[in-house]
């Protein structure tokens, strides 16, 4: 009978090296972010189709949105991405305290984003604007609502990571969860960077 083409006597240990584990986490995270893009992609496609179909409705409706609040939220999120990036770099250099504080600032920014969004939604409801008002507002509420859900998930993830950072679980040798949390937060930021001009500015 033919022999299999493997060497039984030789061979490596079954455990993964830290570098392997890091590569696995990173590839997995990027693939997951790809699925997020596809998820929002469906809504962006719907936006493109309906905007081409009803340019006047989009123009008229988007003027109801509060640009100042949208702009403030954009600045908050971009700033939070900066603090997150500083946090990741800090932990990679072993500065646990700085990293923890930076993640805390990121979380505060995320909460601030939620507060502004709360007032925005409240103002819409006060003017009797709901998801079923017209297609533009259907898209507005669904896109920003799904994004808001991602912000909340991001906050929960970062909350856990922050506690672990302050407890000293991460250092220059092992910071994978901080980096992965950072990647996720940047995606949340990135989606908003597209939502803001599409909904608030160009309508």
């Amino acid at each position: 009978m033919e022999q299999a083409n493997m060497d039984h006597a030789e061979g490596h240990d079954l455990h993964l090296t830290p570098e392997q584990e890091y590569g696995i986490s990173k590839l997995g995270m990027w693939l997951f972010l790809g699925t997020e893009i596809m998820l929002f992609g469906g809504l962006f496609a719907a936006y493109a189709i309906f905007r081409a179909k009803y340019p006047e409705m989009f123009l008229e409706s988007h003027q109801e949105l509060n640009r100042e609040m949208g702009a403030v939220n954009t600045c908050i999120l971009i700033f939070s991405s900066l603090t997150m990036a500083i946090g990741v770099t800090a932990i990679q250099r072993g500065k646990q305290m700085l990293a923890g504080i930076m993640i805390l600032v990121t979380i505060i920014c995320g909460l601030g984003f939620g507060v502004v969004k709360y007032f925005e939604y409240g103002a819409k409801f006060a003017h009797h604007i709901y998801p079923d008002t017209n297609i533009f507002f259907s898209l507005y509420f669904m896109m920003t609502g799904l994004h808001m859900l991602h912000v909340f998930i991001g906050l929960a993830v970062l909350g856990v990571i922050m506690v672990l950072t302050f407890k000293g679980k991460f250092n220059e040798k092992y910071s994978t969860p901080v980096e992965m949390g950072g990647l996720y937060w940047h995606l949340v930021d990135l989606v908003w960077i597209y939502l803001f001009p599409l909904l608030y500015l160009v309508g």
């Binding site: 009978m1 033919e2 299999a4 083409n5 493997m6 060497d7 039984h8 030789e10 061979g11 490596h12 240990d13 079954l14 392997q20 590569g23 696995i24 590839l27 997995g28 693939l31 997951f32 790809g34 699925t35 997020e36 596809m38 998820l39 929002f40 992609g41 469906g42 809504l43 496609a45 719907a46 189709i49 309906f50 179909k53 009803y54 409705m57 709901y130 998801p131 079923d132 017209n134 297609i135 259907s138 509420f141 669904m142 799904l146």
Partner: protein, 537 residues
Amino acid sequence: MANHTVATNVYVPFLEQKGFLSWFLTTDHKRIGILYLISISLFFLIAGVLALLMRFELMTPMSDFVSPHTYNVLFTLHGSLMVFFFIVPGLAASFGNFLIPLMIGAPDVAFPKLNLASYWIYIVGAIITLIALLSPADTGWTFYTPYSATTDTDVVMITFGVFVLGFSSILTGMNFIVTIHKMRAPGMTWHRLPLFIWASYATAVLQLLATPVVGITLLMLIAERSLGVGFFDPAKGGDPVLFQNFFWFYSHPAVYIMIIPAMGVISEIIPVFARKPIFGYKAIAYSSLGIAFISFLVWAHHMFTSGISEVAATIFSFLTFLVAIPTAIKVFNWTATLYKGSIELHSAMLYALGFIFLFTIGGLTGVFLGALAVDIHLHDTYFVVAHMHYVMIGGTVMGFFGALHFWYPKWFGKMFNESVAKLAWFLVFVGFNITFFPQFFLGIQGMPRRYATYPEEFESLMALSTYGSWILGLGVLIMTVNLIKGLFSDEKAPQNPYGSLSLEWQVPSPPPTLNFDKIPIVTDWTYGYGKKKEVDA
């Protein structure tokens, strides 16, 4: 090769540990594979019984066994359960889980905990769908608007169940891609990988890219029903055809999520029982990726009669024909592998040969449907039903049964009764053809699908189809009993009963918990039967 030649440490089979928690909290890919295997098989049997009930109703032209509404519910549940609970997770989640780490020489998948999470998410989705049965939907498994947005039945619950299942599918796909990229044993280069791995990889890519789109589509449908938004409602400026576009953007690639793993299975079974190296290794490997790529560009061929533009229809028709190329590449290469082979008609091989024969019929009738003018006549008729079942039963289910019989000794360490298995195969093969071949004629004669009643001139073909379904059902029943009975037999399976060269056969049956004592070093490809060695040689 005797048993347990590898074991230098103490050999503990992965099935050794008993008790509920050892399964409930397992992160062993082989056990998770079993959990999936049991779950999808249950859904397959339930949905199969629903199909038998439908065929029973269709014995006579009148609706005398169930009411038309119940009939609508039956085909909706049959389709939804078969598609979302059996065939989409199907081979990938069960055999993919079991085989991928073993075949590439890894102790487990890249994310064992996510793997377990994906299974429990699947169960949550199943429970939600069971709750939806309180007021079962009658929309068909495609949930087409506007009907799905207006029917009184509970569409939200079942679509939410399917939405939850999507997460399970995404996690599995992500896990497999990372595993195949990062966990291959030293020397297991891309061009030495078993073809099942290539197929699983292509499937995982589709799961990752397509599933989120159906997720957002179902969310939009749920918003349509619960928040009163009007994406798909013409009265509110929406467009029902948009739903079809979104739905098929997922569901057409999903067809390949269903079939590509089965193609991978066939590529493993055939060389072993033909005792020949696989012919055209690279062609088969890359054609999996080719099918995956083209599958994203053909979705509108489901919509030729939905009022899409002639330009779009022409382009999509052309792109649809392109699918035939990578598919034919596979069929020709399998046939070439058989040529002058020393063929052993093991039950797994019979299913593999059945696959080639039936899938070819399914594929060629797909070309009829891709042709614009012909499709206008055949759209939504029994011709589509027959084509679809030739691909899904003749293809995927044959592959699934083949995989069951092929890897059974390895997975469970037991043997089933081979003669009974052959008898079951014969009944399945004959019953399937009697059930579905008449439906091609029914379709050409204009019998539309999804009706509980029909004109009297169709009665003889309809009755023939129903008789066939009983033979098919009997075959599946005998097969199931035979496989379950085998589990309790005393006959222990040898390590490598077929003399396969693939890595999973070089460990004891059933494999030890961590698969290998040491990560093996791979020195050649998997298909070196006879003299031919390295694929590039």
